[in-house]
């Protein structure tokens, strides 16, 4: 059995070098961190989900197309839905949607095929797999941690599960989504892929006082 390493694949996380000690698994042609070796779960984890499958679409017909494809469709701008089989749909503004496979997504949901299906006039692809990094901040103290890099009130009262904000964090633009998983609070963060390394470090710095640490996607699957 070969050990899975990011450089085995052409498609790589923007920050794969940040995980020298991690254990990986192949996820749609790239290496996804499963867990950090020799580490018990921290209270708060930062997880690199950059290689996880996703695509975006927008345009006047994008919403209808999603409904036609039978995907759960967020009714309100700047909200998200999560389906039982681990598909997350973000609605960014009025006419842009992202479809993402969460770590617990039914393994065989083929996003490429879905993306093909969701095309046509009035629908334009958004390259969110490449222009955005996907990080998940999960566990405890999330609002406190985010308050060190972001000016939006992300406490539970004002930022409920299913909410999404487009804002700036640590002075880069980003999207923050609230979607609990396995009984944990999870904030998925999407930000400029070119700034991924910078943001990773900035978040780790913000987490330090709460003893937060990097982890793999298994963190999101195991309930405590």
């Amino acid at each position: 059995m070969t050990v899975i390493k990011p450089e085995l694949f052409d498609s790589r996380s923007f920050i794969y070098r940040k995980h020298p000690q991690a254990e990986f698994a192949e996820v749609s042609g790239a290496a996804q961190v499963l867990s950090y070796a020799d580490q018990s779960d921290p209270d708060t984890a930062l997880i690199d989900l950059s290689v996880r499958p996703r695509f975006g679409l927008r345009g006047p017909k994008a919403g209808e197309a999603l409904i036609a494809a039978g995907l759960m469709h967020p009714e309100q701008p700047n909200t998200l839905t999560v389906s039982d089989d681990g598909m997350m749909v973000l609605r960014l503004g009025r006419t842009e949607y992202w479809v993402l496979a969460l770590p617990n997504a039914a393994a065989e949901r083929d996003l490429d095929a879905l993306q093909q299906q969701l095309s046509g006039s009035g629908i334009y692809p958004v390259y969110c797999h490449d222009s955005y990094t996907w990080l998940a901040l999960a566990g405890e103290h999330l609002a406190d941690i985010m308050a060190k890099v972001c000016a939006v009130d992300l406490r539970e009262d004002s930022f409920a599960p299913g909410d999404l904000v487009m804002t700036s964090l640590a002075r880069v633009g980003g999207i923050i989504c609230h979607h609990p998983m396995a009984g944990k609070t999870v904030y998925s963060i999407f930000s400029d892929s070119a700034s991924a390394a910078y943001l990773w470090d900035a978040l780790l710095d913000a987490m330090a006082e709460f003893e937060g640490a990097p982890a793999g996607q298994n963190f999101l699957l195991s309930s405590q």
């Binding site: 498609s11 406190d144 972001c150 000016a151």
Partner: protein
């Protein structure tokens, strides 16, 4: 002396007697307790002198014991201007006095005090400049005397950071008003944040005496604090200063090494009031303090402030202070009461019963100093015979402590920053605040209330106002009334010999203020600026009121008309470390970033990006650039161009949109073709350029410059918010990693990795666009000619960027492929005569000056800037960007050198490099229009030398463009 001297508990609320600490001041060791401030620990050890004053180098000691004056600014290691009465001692710290020459005790510059009369207000303006030129010599002498503490220039910043906070209601100040407001608001269900500058909740309740028996403060404090700390809806932040009020209740809170930025829905300011001093001669001597400072010393730190005191007061609080002193074993020689009317009879009875002499309608006219002005040794007391006037007859009393209270000034700063106005109430002789914006509420003594009951009710009222706005209550406010009048209307007793300080920070005496007005500086703002009153570290906390009174009187106006100067942030001086915080400087890296580092690239900034300038050490820059360029010309090179901006335009109106945004015509651009695209702004100035690929009828992919793309994208989306064309505009810079594979062998390299695109010149000609796979990676391929060789720009989804680089470097091995950097690219494009927008253009360059008219379609109905281009092009042109050439052995002009025609500057060099391809120095420059034809000569001034260069036709290299079209 040691610490057993301290008063017994419950005195000493802040100190922990179980934790003795030692520290040094001026090199001498002292002991104190955990919880002591530097000042309290020093005073406990009879060390009064802490600093020397700004101008006269007078000995200074604490005035307020609350960080509200500059007298206690000390040097703490490398850190200057630390408030000794706020900074807690820590084991082993060493502090020093400030602003002295020699030693603190024996300051050689203390003589400056004697020259006070030669340094009248504004004396700098009247001297040191005659005869002409002499100022230059005086200035350095004066400059040497400037400043207070010393900065450690080698200090390395520590880790400070920031955090945002949110709340329904913030209450600033935890005195009785604040505590009452917080409880009221929290009870109604609001989330409350209670912010207190001091380490302890309670405000005046922690140090002030409110009743004869001296019980009320403590019992009330305990009762309120118990409720507050037990309340689920109240969060408490002590040791936290709210340092400004900013629009929409945005409040910086400073605690420890963190700068919080609080957003509150409602803001209640219960900041209390500053006790005011009396102006008389030598009122700055060590041993002279405000009444509240003396009670703070005793109650908070258990320090007995002296052995024999005189209390100088304009209100009843002085009597209560006297009781507190007596109870703690300080003899009270007299209460000197400025008022002629009697105080509260029971209170008068209480002090008299203790044998204290009460002298009414009198003032201290002069404090008598011990040797060297080191401490007060007595007071000269006079009867008041008129406003600021005293009798000839004097009584002298010996004392080592003088406590004073002339009344209060509301702690107005935050409220004035919020837009409130101060006006003077003549009856009460005090300033009051009015005109608050919505969402800001005032409570307690800052609101001109002085009795405990009124203050508590006022706190509740402020909470009610806030709750109503939050729709958490519809209760109405209870009327409050307060008959106490703590302010004495004229506590200013000017002395012919001066040193009657109005402003301690700036050593300003009563006559300085008056003289400023007599010199014509009548407006209080001019008085401030001429005299510097209120401009020191404590920003007028104690000088504003006497100044307003003095100015009003001498200019025959009311105090309200006179007013006070603007209250500006910060509330209290704040460390730059706090405001700077943890610095976020986003960095952007391309997918190939680490490969560049591994290859030894010299990285340079390009906005937030870092790009390779060339590969190799900086010392041999020219060599690497030359080698890399020659390599591209003779073999094949690879450059990372991922930072290039990318925008996609899609939809039925995509071509129409392109046609309106760019100067060129785009309606008929064939699918599968690229086209140069120039952008002008509405002034007709060229601001960006790029390449537009038509991917399909209704799909364009355009590039923009690295630094320009953000603006181009914004402009595009803004225009379309108006035009409402059927297009979608997507910013895709980060979505694509891109390289330019260039050189005669480029096709051969690429051929090995591509099997779904025919790369032959016929099938994929110059300026064509194709899609396919490179090493299995989905790619957009553009045949471009920026560097003037056969070249392919390859754009792939970013996640594949590194693999693409690896594949090309690998496939290129056989052809000796070599990476090249942006500086090399700049040379290569210069050889081809391509301009770089912003390097070869400036804020005035229109297409005509740049020889870009070919890229402007002036027949189409519209493009952004079209009319402006028409207007400027219709005018006679004055300058033009030209190519010039010089022999290799000539002096090389640098970018920025001037092009001259006779005496006139006609232009400047914008690009210039050694070109081995042209065997010449080549460049671009703006030149006079008359000299812009090839064959003309232009004069370039290089380090004083004028060099004649030949204007040549562009490009310098491969004029037939054969190489890029291979």
């Amino acid at each position: 002396m040691s610490s057993e001297k301290r008063l017994k508990a419950p005195m000493g609320l802040l100190i922990d007697r179980e934790k003795p600490l030692s520290f040094s001041f001026e090199g001498k060791q002292y002991r104190g307790f955990a919880g002591d401030s530097i000042a309290s620990a020093l005073l406990a050890n009879q060390q009064w002198l802490m600093s020397r004053s700004f101008k006269y180098h007078r000995p200074r000691a604490p005035l307020t014991m609350a960080g509200q004056d500059a007298n206690t600014l000390v040097q703490l290691g490398g850190e200057p201007n630390v408030l000794a009465d706020r900074e807690m001692i820590r084991e082993g710290i060493s502090a020093e006095g400030q602003n002295y020459n020699g030693t603190l005790e024996g300051d050689k510059d203390a003589y400056l005090g004697h020259f006070g009369r030669f340094m009248p207000v504004g004396f700098y303006y009247r001297s040191f400049f005659k005869p002409m030129g002499v100022w230059d010599k005086w200035e350095s002498f004066i400059r040497d005397k400037a400043g207070l503490g010393k900065l450690d220039l080698t200090f390395k910043p520590e880790y400070y950071d920031k955090k945002y906070l949110f709340t329904d209601v913030v209450v600033i100040g935890s005195g009785p008003a604040g505590l009452s407001a917080a409880l009221k608001a929290a009870d109604a269900g609001a989330k409350v944040l209670l912010v207190e500058e001091m380490p302890l909740l309670g405000g005046a309740l922690t140090y002030n005496r409110f009743d004869i028996a001296g019980q009320q403060a403590d019992s009330l404090r305990c009762e309120l604090i118990d409720k507050v700390t037990a309340h689920d809806n109240i969060e408490v932040m002590t040791d936290t200063v709210c340092n400004a009020w900013v629009t929409d209740n945005y409040l910086p809170l400073i605690r420890g090494k963190r700068f919080y930025k609080l957003r509150a829905k409602e803001c209640i300011v219960a900041s209390g009031a500053y006790e005011q001093h009396v102006v008389f001669r030598n009122n700055d001597l060590p041993g002279i303090m405000l009444c509240s400072a003396v009670t703070r010393l005793m109650k908070l730190y258990a320090v007995r402030p002296g052995s024999r005191a005189v209390v100088l007061t304009g209100n009843d609080d002085g009597y209560l202070t006297a009781l507190e002193l007596l109870e703690n074993g300080v003899e009270v020689a007299a209460i000197v009461d400025l008022r002629s009317e009697h105080p509260w009879p029971e209170l008068l009875g209480a002090v008299k019963q203790k044998g204290v002499q009460v002298i009414q309608n009198s003032t201290v006219y002069e404090a008598l100093p011990s040797k060297g002005n080191k401490h007060i040794r007595g007071v000269d007391i006079r009867t008041i015979v008129g406003e600021g006037e005293v009798s000839e007859f004097s009584t002298t009393l010996e004392c080592d402590l003088l406590c004073m209270s002339a009344g209060y000034m509301p702690a107005y700063q935050l409220l004035c920053q919020a837009g409130a106005q101060l006006s003077y109430n003549d009856d009460a002789a005090e300033f009051t605040l009015s005109g608050l914006p919505q969402g800001v509420h005032i409570a307690g003594s800052v609101n001109g209330l002085h009795t405990l009951e009124a203050v508590l009710n006022d706190g509740a009222n402020a909470a009610i106002r806030a709750l109503r706005r939050l729709q958490l209550s519809d209760e109405s406010e209870q009327p409050v009334s307060c008959l106490a009048k703590p302010n004495f209307s004229w506590p200013i007793f000017s002395h012919p010999k001066g040193k009657d300080f109005v402003d301690y920070d700036e050593d300003l005496q009563a006559k300085d203020i008056v003289n400023a007005t007599r010199l014509g500086y009548r407006d209080v703002q001019l008085v401030k600026r001429f005299s510097t009153v209120g401009m020191g570290p404590s920003q007028g906390r104690h000088s504003a009121l006497p100044t307003a009174r003095l100015v009003a009187k001498s200019t025959e106006r009311t105090v309200t008309q006179t007013g006070v100067t603007t209250a500006r942030p910060p509330f209290a001086p704040e460390k730059l470390a706090h405001v700077a915080g943890r610095i976020f400087d986003p960095r952007r890296h391309t997918a190939m970033h680490h490969r560049h580092l591994e290859l030894g690239a010299k990285m340079i900034p390009a906005g937030n990006w870092r790009r390779p300038a060339f590969y190799g050490d900086a010392a041999q820059r020219d060599r690497w650039i030359r080698e890399e360029a020659e390599h591209v010309r003779s073999r094949v090179g690879l450059i990372d161009v991922s930072t290039l901006g990318g925008i996609e335009i899609r939809g039925a109106d995509a071509a129409e949109f392109m046609n309106r945004i760019y100067t060129f015509a785009f309606l008929k651009q064939p699918v599968g073709k690229t086209r140069y695209a120039v952008l002008t702004n509405e002034h007709g100035v060229v601001i960006d350029d790029g390449v537009a690929c038509r991917i399909s009828e209704d799909h364009f992919y355009v590039t923009a410059t690295t630094s320009g793309v953000e603006r181009v994208y914004r402009d595009m989306t803004k225009w379309n918010a108006q035009w409402r064309l059927d297009v979608d505009i997507l910013h895709v810079t980060s979505a694509f990693a891109a390289v330019n594979l260039a050189g005669p062998d480029a096709r051969k390299v690429l051929q090995q990795l591509v099997d779904d695109v025919d790369l032959s010149a016929e099938a994929f000609p110059y300026l064509a666009y194709r899609e396919g796979h490179v090493a299995g990676i989905p790619a957009r391929l553009l045949r471009v000619g920026f560097v003037g060789e056969l070249g392919y720009e390859i754009h792939v989804p970013t996640r594949y960027g590194e693999a693409l680089w690896d594949a090309l470097m690998d496939a290129g091995k056989a052809f000796d492929i070599r990476p090249f950097g942006v500086e090399t690219q700049r040379l290569l494009r210069l050889e081809k005569g391509h301009l770089i927008v912003s390097q070869d253009t400036d804020g005035m360059s229109h297409p005509g000056e740049l020889d870009l008219t070919w890229a402007v379609n002036r027949k189409k109905p519209f493009f952004v800037g079209c009319r402006s281009v028409d207007i400027v092009m219709a005018q006679p042109q004055t300058r033009k960007l030209v190519g010039f050439k010089l022999p290799l052995n000539s002096t090389k002009p640098e970018e920025g050198h001037l092009v001259l025609k006779g005496d006139k500057i006609t232009g400047n060099v914008t690009s210039c490099e050694y070109s081995s391809a042209s065997q010449a120095i080549i460049g671009l420059a703006f030149a006079d229009i008359a000299d812009s034809e090839p064959g003309s000569r232009i004069s370039i001034r290089v380090e004083g030398e004028e060099i004649m260069a030949d204007v040549v036709k562009l490009p310098f290299y491969d004029p037939e463009n054969l190489r890029q079209e291979m």
